[in-house]
Symmetry: none
Subunit: 240 residues, 2 copies
DNA sequence: ACCAATTGATCCAATCGTGAACCAATCGGT
DNA sequence: ACCGATTGGTTCACGATTGGATCAATTGGT
C-alpha cells in the first residue's frame, strides 16, 4: 500500500479535492480536471497531485481510468463526514455496521426479500455434503439446551443454506446478518420473545425447509423459508 | 543517554516549546518550525535547540523525522495504549469491496433476487415526489449522448427506485451496486456490449418500469424489473 | 584559571517536491 | 478503420529542506 503519510503539498491537494466534493462543486460521477491541469490549478507538480489522487482512489472516493480521466465515485455522499484535520482514516463503513444501524423492521424486510429466493437457489445447487452440513446444524439446533446455543446453530443453519448457493455475495450477506444477531440489542429482543415452545416451532419449520432442500424442490423451499421468516418477524416485531 | 541537566539556553527553549503546546498554539500533529528556524526564533544556536528537542522527544511529546520535520505527537494524553483489538473477523471490509471481488455472474444473480422485489416494494410506497425524481432520471438517461452519461443516469434511476422503498438497508445495497458499476472492469464490459440500439431497449424497459411504479402495481413492477435485469444479464454475460 | 554550556560550522542521510520524458489506454473526428 | 489528441501510469534525476552527528572555538560563571 502507499505511504500513509503525505507531505505538505500533497495534503493541500488532497483536502482541496475533498473540499470541492463536499461543497457539491464536484458531484457524483463528475469528471475532475486532468492531472496536469490540477497540478497547474493547485500550483504543484503533477507527481504531487498523483499522490493525493492515489490516496483518494484507495479510499474509494475517486475512480481513475487511463485515457478517460478521473471521476467522483457514486455513493460517496454519506462517506464524506467532516473529519479532524490530521485524520487519515477514510470513511470505510462495513456491511455489518450498516446493518447494525438499520431498524429491525427494515432488516426483516430485507431478509424476507433475499432469503426465500436464496433458499430456492440452494435447492437447485445443494450437493450431498452441503445437505449433510445443513442437517448437522439442524440436529445441533434441536439438541441445544440454552438460547445462546440454539441461536448459534440457528445462525449456522441459515449460513450453510447460503453456502449451498455457491454465490460469494450471498454468503457474505448471510455472514453480515449473523453478525448483527450477535448484537446485544438483538439478543435481548430474542430473549424476551423466543420461548421454548417457539423454538420447537422454529425447529419444525427448519425441518420442512431441509426436507424441501433435500428434494431439490425450489418452490417448496422458497415457501418454507418465507413462512419461517414471517413467523420470526411476527414474533420479533409484534403482529405488525 | 542524554544528561538530565540542561543549560540555561536549552531550558529556555524547552519551556518555550512546552508553553506553546499548552497554550494550544501548537496542536496535536502540528509541525514545529525547522530547527534552524527555531534557533533564530529563540536567538540561540541550533545545537542548543536540538538538546531541548531531544529531551521533549524522549518524553514522548514530540516526534522527529529526518527530511520531514518535528511534530507534536498525537494523543499526548494516552500513556501506554499499545493494545489494539485487531479483531480476527474480516469486518474491516466494505460492502462495495466485497462486491468488487465478486464475479459478474454472482452479482447479477443477486440483483435478480433483490431488485424485482425491491421494485415491487417501491410500487407500494413511492410518493409523487419519488416518482418525479425517477422520471427525471429516465428523461436524462434517454437524452444522454455518451455511454458514460447514460451509465450515470441509469444508475441514478435504479437508486431512486430503491430510495422509494424507504428501506435504509436496500438503499445502501443499491449504492454499493452503483459503486461497482464505476469499476473500470465493469465499464469495459459494458462498453463492449452496450450498443446504441441496446440503449433504446433499456430505455423502453425503464419506461414500462416507471409506468408500473406510477400505477402502484407491484406485480407489474416486479416483472418489469425482472425482464430488464434478465436482458442486462444476457447482454453482459452472454446467452448463459 | 577552570570547565561546562554554548556557539558556529561542516558534512551526512532521509524526505519531499519538481520537472521532464516516455509509455499505454482511450476517445473523437476523418 | 485509421490517426492524432488527450489522459492516466511510470520512471528518473535534480534541488531544496530537514533532522542527525561531529568538532573546534567561544562564552560565562565559579
Amino acid at each position: 500500500m502507499t505511504d500513509l503519510l503525505l507531505g505538505r503539498s500533497a495534503t493541500l491537494v488532497l483536502e482541496g479535492v475533498r473540499q470541492r466534493i463536499r461543497a457539491g462543486e464536484l458531484r457524483e460521477g463528475a469528471q475532475l480536471p486532468a492531472e496536469r491541469d490540477l497540478a497547474a490549478l493547485f500550483g504543484v507538480a503533477r507527481n504531487t497531485v498523483r499522490q493525493a489522487l492515489e490516496r483518494l482512489e484507495s479510499e474509494g472516493v475517486l475512480v481513475r481510468q487511463v485515457g478517460r480521466g478521473t471521476f467522483v465515485r457514486q455513493g460517496v455522499r454519506e462517506g464524506l463526514n467532516e473529519r479532524e484535520p490530521a485524520s487519515a482514516a477514510p470513511a470505510a463503513v462495513t456491511l455489518s455496521q450498516r446493518m447494525r444501524e438499520a431498524s429491525p423492521a427494515d432488516l426483516m424486510e430485507v431478509r424476507l426479500i433475499i432469503e426465500p429466493q436464496a433458499a430456492a437457489l440452494a435447492a437447485n445447487r445443494a450437493s450431498s455434503t452441503d445437505l449433510e452440513r445443513i442437517r448437522e446444524a439442524l440436529r445441533h439446533s434441536i439438541a441445544a439446551r440454552g438460547l445462546a446455543e440454539f441461536e448459534h446453530w440457528d445462525a449456522q443453519l441459515h449460513l450453510r443454506v447460503f453456502e449451498a448457493t455457491k454465490n460469494a455475495v450471498l454468503i457474505d450477506y448471510c455472514r453480515a446478518i449473523n453478525r448483527v444477531r450477535d448484537e446485544p440489542a438483538w439478543y435481548q429482543l430474542k430473549k424476551r420473545t423466543v420461548t421454548l415452545e417457539l423454538r420447537t416451532v422454529y425447529d419444525r419449520q427448519h425441518g420442512t425447509l431441509v426436507e424441501a432442500l433435500a428434494d431439490h424442490d425450489p418452490e417448496a423451499t422458497r415457501t418454507a423459508m418465507r413462512e419461517h421468516l414471517l413467523r420470526v418477524s411476527r414474533n420479533l416485531l409484534g403482529e405488525g
